[in-house]
Amino acid sequence: MIKAILIFNNHGKPRLIRFYQYFAEDLQQQIIRETFHLVSKRDDNVCNFLEGGSLIGGSDYKLIYRHYATLYFVFCVDSSESELGILDLIQVNIIQTHVFVETLDKCFENVCELDLIFHMDKVHYILQEVVMGGMVLETNMNEIVGQVELQNRMEKSEGGLSAAPARAVSAVKNMNLPEIPRNINIGDINIKVPSLSPF
């Protein structure tokens, strides 16, 4: 079972959190802080497994993480999950499942922290096709991408009368204030993940 999936950046700011067991909000934040503390002090060339933190898990639980540029992807899992399997799930790996990160790649063309920041909901929808209720639902990337796209298409077709003006408005908003977002984003845009080769 996967107990939690946490994505946060190099400063510990959460970008996506998904707990498969209930924790109160303040406890969730504490867990994020603790996990960040554990993970961030590790070099990039050490192993990607950690015996669980004190707040989440216990002896049976492990933290398995990957670090990409500015983001940490952390899975808290118990002993029924294969460590390497989860790493594969997070990253392009030995098996043919490029699942999670690669999936993000396909849907946003090129995943970077900004995509996550502004489209947290979309990332959630993708994640929902990969992991459900703490168990891995699908490892076939094509299947995942297909389902996500179909759902997005459905959302667009539903848009109709009420959504059209909203889209126009948000387009206008973005046009009207070109400086503000650009100024902020420039620093972040550099941190694109290098495209990872499958082997």
Partner: protein, 1247 residues
Amino acid sequence: MALKIVKGSIDRMFDKNLQDLVRGIRNHKEDEAKYISTCIDEIKQELKQDNIAVKANAVCKLTYLQMLGYDISWAAFNIVEVMSSSKFTYKRIGYLAASQCFHEGTDVIMLTTNQIRKDLSSPNQYDTGVALTGLSCFVTPDLARDLANDIMTLMSHTKPYIRKKAVLIMYKVFLKYPESLRPAFPRLKEKLEDPDPGVQSAAVNVICELARRNPKNYLSLAPLFFKLMTSSTNNWVLIKIIKLFGALTPLEPRLGKKLIEPLTNLIHSTSAMSLLYECVNTVIAVLISLSSGMPNHSASIQLCVQKLRILIEDSDQNLKYLGLLAMSKILKTHPKSVQSHKDLILQCLDDKDESIRLRALDLLYGMVSKKNLMEIVKKLMLHVDKAEGTTYRDELLTKIIDICSQSNYQYITNFEWYISILVELTRLEGTRHGHLIASQMLDVAIRVKAIRGFAVAQMAMLLDSGHLLTGNMQRNGICEVLYAAAWICGEFSEHLDDPMQTLEAMLRPKVASLPGHIQAVYVQNAAKLFATVLQKHEGATDSQAAQDTSQLLIERLPLFVQSANLEVQERASCILQLVKYIQKLQQKDVEVAEEVSALFAGELNPVAPKAQKKVPVPEGLDLDAWINEPPSESESEDEKPKAVFAKEEPKQSRARHIEVDEKELARRREARKQEQANNPFYIKSSPSSQKVYQDAPGVEHIPVVQIDLSVPLKVPGMPMSEQYLKLEEERRQKERADKKKKDKKKKKREKRGKGKRDDSGPESEEDITPAHQVDIVTEEMPENALPSDDDDKDPNDPHKALDIDLDNLLLGNDYRPLADSEKLPVRTHRREVLKSPEEDGDQDGITQEAKRRSSKEKKEKDRKSKEEEKKKKKKKHKHVVEEEPPEPLSEEPVQSEESAEVAAPPTSTSAEASDLDFWLSSAPVPPPIKEALAPKTSVAAAPDSEPDVPKDAEPDEEKSLKNKKKKQKKEKDEKKKKKRHHHHHHHGDGGGGDSVQNGTVEEEEEEEPLPPMSNYCLLAENSYIKMVYDIQGNLQDGSQVVVSVIFENKSNSFLKSMEFNVLDSLNSKLQRPEGASPHDGLVVPFQLPPGVSNEARFVFSVQSIVMPQKLKGTLTFIVKSEDSSTHEKLDFKLHFTCTSYLITTPCYSDAYAKLLESGDLKSSSLKLEGLNMPFHHLLARICFHHHFSVVERIDSCASMYSRSIQGHHVCLLVKTANQTVSIDAKCDEPSLLANVLDEIKQTFSQC
């Protein structure tokens, strides 16, 4: 309308969407909290609007804020609103928010049931998918119960996308609603062979999760998984299956043998490291499970170790880490094969990754032997010097100590070496493990007698050098070592070369800066040293030196008398007074040495750490009761040193002796000696041996010459053989004396040179003789120590409830079909509450008769149509639960197996048991006929969930009578064989008189007498005790039943301390006294002398009574015979039948008729054939066993009535003709009725 929409859209122009919110937060880095609080205010406004799009947008933003740690539970209702939108876009937002913040405590969750049900059955697969995903995160027991059936239907949806989600979510449903596991399992199993790989993978996932917690229930699926393993190409599925096999092999070694080959093939063929690693892991598990039986798998071990070596040598840190992890598993059973890779492991100690170093340390722990211990520890000591972080250094330190002290110092051949290692470790600054080193020093010095001389010398050095006094004086710091040093020097002061010098070192002013508990030990042991010094000097008639010593003490002790620590103060002032008194005597030239040293005479033996806990509490002693009333204010107790060391205890009692004056002291000493002499467990001190030690100079006496052993004195507590062993050892040692001396010198040189040279040549294990006779004194345990009752299972584990015997569902013989009650709840309309029959009777008017009749007809029609509807539903339901043979209970086990064989496809459910056996024992494709011949193992043979069959409870005459009946029956109906006893019958309690109850009494005249009956049936029995039980509803309380259990002592011993405990289920709970935790047992309020039986009653509270229930429980008790007492336990299963919820209630015929006419009752019927017993017997049985009363009886027809504790009415119409009994029954709770009828049928199938 359109205008409104447009207006809403225009309004929305000014609303923020998620992106705006994120942008805003990023723009307000300084006052983020303030900005967010204004945003939340906006969101609150948006949520108040009617436009669902606005609401959805607001909820979407809330989801983001939730991630940042804001509580959004206040918007739960709005989230539900958005969830129920008809548009997928909004629905998805709503479910996402719900999955992030809903939990069992969210009260609006109960509003969602119908919405979710609607979404689950939506024609749009993505609506269904979104609902399933959301539900998987916030499913509650209520939701699980209400929706289980809907989800089960989805498991056979046409779209694989829905199927896989439905399959996966079932695991969550099982967790929350364990009752659903049995009915859903066949379907789940079916999904293992789904054509869609995603669905298959989901099913594997769920079953693996289930099996991980309760593997034994899933053993029968092994062949199926085996097939999957050899056919699947999906690595994810393979990994799961292989992990599952790893959990199953310990239960069935034959499975392991079968697995080895395909796993080895996979190891050779796969390129995926994750798969390779899991294969290796499972092979290891197999080898472990086989290790006891078959040693011949060295090839597989070699393969595993080889592959792991490759992993460890890989540059990928992850593989390295996992390789070490797996290696440590092999180490436990095959240490030899790992030991050859010691070089590799030691290399890993240099790794930059701390977790890898720690894993390597773990491995080293298991790799040491007598031969390599010194070498490994030397390496570790080097690492201690190099280590940077204190945490890692501390870890190294504890590991060194663990490695050396493991299994009672098994691998240490030279304790001098170990003591010097410990002393070296004291140079570590800033460690937190000072106390660990200290306790090791104490332990070794106390338990290894031969080393004391050396240890004392080293400790004196530690006390003298004072480097420990300069470090920080924290608790648990390295200064703790001084505690041990002072105590050892004091206690074994006879070994000291220069006690005077040590005494001075101990009384330095600097000592006053040490923590209090250490100072206390200093003071106390200074007194011991004082005694030694006195004795030494008095013998030599050097009175001046002795007086100087007294003077020294008198000068230095006042420093401690002023200590803030009470313990120190108290001891110091006592000793100070004592010394002053001694000084006076010395000045009068009185010899005092003898008496002073007598203060500290006697040897201390180590006490096992758990000894105190194991002392049984004497009967009648209440440890929690106050002896005196507690003082009103808390006493300002000075923080007393925690008893870090178990050996501390005896010393404290001695301190108390010192407080009294000399005379009293002498008297008490005398008394104590007396007591010790009488106590066989006290190892008496032999002054002679002490003398000998004193005389022996320095280290020379170390080669064990224990004089007291040659004296033919039987030391109590030590077997004679051991002495012989020691003598033999001595003899051998003399023989090897020369060689040994050489060795010793070598070792000494080694010790003196700081860096120890590694000169241990290629010695074989046998060559290494311990340098010291390791006389490791075993720790003392109290008399009647209770066996440890380590209950490490977490009773709160949600998976415990899922420990359901699924084999019954699958296996051919004795299988238990799904009872109606076990079927998943289907939605039904709420029935109106029935009026009590009495009330109805009162209102009954004859004039209304006709009117009522017509309405009755109408109602009847209504009911019929309703019934039909229900039947349809039931049919559907039946389909869901997989077609079961209609009356499997009446079939003979053999028959069912035979019939299964005729049809036998290899995976057919009914032939599963023998199938598994066969699959495990021989060729891969079992020919169906052979199956029958395959030996039945425990899997097939033990239907332990069935009510136990009482064996010899019946008196003989009755048995024969019964046999006759049986024969008759056999002739008439082959199929109806007596297979199971439900109730057992015997004379004694419950005789014929009260067996016919209430309404039946009047008809008794002309009928023949009834056979005696009893409702008590067997609960459990073993050679000590037998328990029979009966369950009665509680008339006063509708939610309680009383279980009466008769305990019968069958043994010749006395049974006492019986404790009755039951694992509560959600539905039924044992009533425990207030304040008891739900896992405490209830003490049975009596003891049982041999042959005696007694009855105890236990109250259970139940919630739902519509289905029977089984509770697991345990009885623990102590069997006390003349010479021994043992702890025993007996497991049982308490079966709450639906009958036990019924209470015999009389009912008048008019009220009864009214009740039947009301039309609120559902009906059901039952036919019993070949029943050869008088009608009145039949009625009596129903009355007695099922708590009914006869309302009316006309010839061969009778109406009966009963009521459940929760007020359900149960009406029966019993008719008999030609040995066929038909029972038509009505009840307002159909499943209760079905269960009661089932139970009635069972009762009669037994007679």
